[in-house]
């Protein structure tokens, strides 16, 4: 159990104690980085986006309303920062949103160790996920790795619980149909 909640820490940040942001950074920067990396597929850019997210948290700490989860609010900011960037690149290069500015050498955002250890199926799933629209990627990634309930997922995605549920079901159905088209039906290993 954590001695101090995220919500309490951001309130202290809002009251002028910016050092509390360091604790929030240590708790959440990996998750935010991995979200940005999944969406942008560029390491250095993802690190810059994480900085932007935490600077926005610092600037907007007073805006945080204590009636929801801090983490959902933070991922909502991360999502806006990332999507803004992807839209900007798309405008500049006229590319589909989900292909805007990929690292050529970053086929998937898993660690090198895991690629070496090689679960082929997992890499195929991640590869298929990377080809789906950004709106699908974000709902699957946030649902799978960050949130335990649709209420918080909805808060992160700026929609209500019911919409989050529908988006998740549709996203999983699309992942399944795309995967099946490319690799055949996913079966138990």
């Amino acid at each position: 159990m954590r001695a101090v909640t995220d919500e309490q820490l951001i309130l202290w940040v809002a009251n002028g104690d910016s050092s509390c942001l360091a604790t929030l950074f240590e708790r959440h920067h990996r998750g935010v980085y991995q979200f940005c990396l999944t969406m942008t597929r560029q390491r250095a850019l993802s690190e810059d986006l994480v900085q932007d997210v935490f600077l926005k948290l610092l600037k907007n700490a007073k805006v945080f309303r204590n009636d929801g989860s801090f983490k959902a609010w933070m991922f909502n900011i991360a999502r806006n920062v990332t999507l803004d960037h992807l839209r900007k690149v798309k405008r500049q290069n006229n590319l589909p949103l989900h292909l805007a500015g990929e690292d050529e050498n970053l086929n998937n955002p898993v660690s090198a160790e895991q690629v070496a250890a090689g679960s082929q199926k997992m890499q195929q799933v991640l590869h298929v996920l990377a080809q789906l629209p950004a709106a699908v990627q974000e709902v699957i990634w946030l649902g799978r790795f960050e949130f335990d309930n649709y209420a918080e997922l909805g808060q992160a995605l700026a929609c209500n619980e019911g919409t989050a549920r529908v988006r998740m079901h549709r996203a999983m159905a699309l992942l399944n149909s795309t995967y099946t088209r490319l690799h055949g039906a996913p079966v138990d290993d």
Binding site: A3, V4, A22, F54, V110, Y150, N176, P186
Partner: protein, 236 residues
């Protein structure tokens, strides 16, 4: 990551989607580089530079020693008034929480500093990091792994032997113990071998001491160190 997340999704979905959901959960994603943390603390420091309130404090004369005395006196009066009014408890509990958060920040910063030093190019800083890491190695797998790496392959032998010393308390951990024992018979540096022998004699299990004895009797240690081991074990 558990598969119990979103049980509704798993119940309402077909086998294929459940399978994809499980497969995704096995992914371990890439970690950010050390640059991210360094940049963040640099940005945070810049953002926390004295603002309008601090400037106002200067104008009102609350800065400097005299200012601190005035401020301390105000705090004492405030606390006294708080006790008198019976409102101290909520404030104390909030302060305790804040103190805990600050302590957590300090330990996180200390850990980052040690990890940075362990990777520093300058041997002196690396050695400093190795010595400081001895206090953290017990609860921190990343630091233990970095120390093992230094113990096995740092270009400076004194850093390697210091890393062995710092890992000494972890000899009973299966992963660390196995690697240190493996290093014992294979190291080409007598200094590192001596550090390993000392650690095993001090903290080793019966099985590890037997392994050490076998290495000494099979003449796989440096001759002087072999004699040292045999003499010490005879005395024990």
């Amino acid at each position: 990551m558990t598969d119990s997340k979103f049980p509704e999704l798993l119940e309402g979905s077909g086998d294929a989607e459940t399978q994809l959901w499980k497969t995704l959960g096995e992914a371990e994603f890439e970690q950010p580089s050390a640059r991210l943390r360094q940049e963040f603390y640099k940005n945070l420091e810049q953002a926390s530079k004295p603002g309008v309130v601090a400037k106002l404090r200067n104008v009102l004369g609350f800065s400097g020693n005299a200012g601190w005395l005035t401020a301390a006196a105000c705090v004492l009066v405030g606390v006294g008034a708080g006790v008198g009014a019976g409102h101290l408890d909520p404030a104390t509990s909030a302060d305790t929480g804040r103190l805990e958060a600050l302590e957590q920040n300090v330990s996180l910063l200390h850990r980052s500093l040690v990890l940075d030093r362990l990777q520093n190019e300058q041997p002196g800083k690396r050695l400093r990091g190795v010595i400081d890491a001895a206090h953290l190695v017990q609860d921190d797998a990343a630091i233990a792994s970095k120390l093992l790496q230094l113990a096995a392959s740092d270009r400076v032998n004194s850093i390697r032997s210091a890393a062995v010393e710092s890992l000494g308390s972890q000899l009973s951990s299966p992963a660390v113990g196995a690697q240190l024992m493996n290093m014992l018979g294979n190291t080409e540096s007598p200094l590192v071998q001596l550090a390993l022998i000392d650690v095993v004699l001090r903290n080793g299990s019966d099985e590890q001491i037997d392994q050490l004895l076998t290495l000494a009797t099979d003449e796989q240690l440096y001759p002087d160190l072999q004699r040292h081991v045999l003499t010490t074990l005879e005395r024990i």
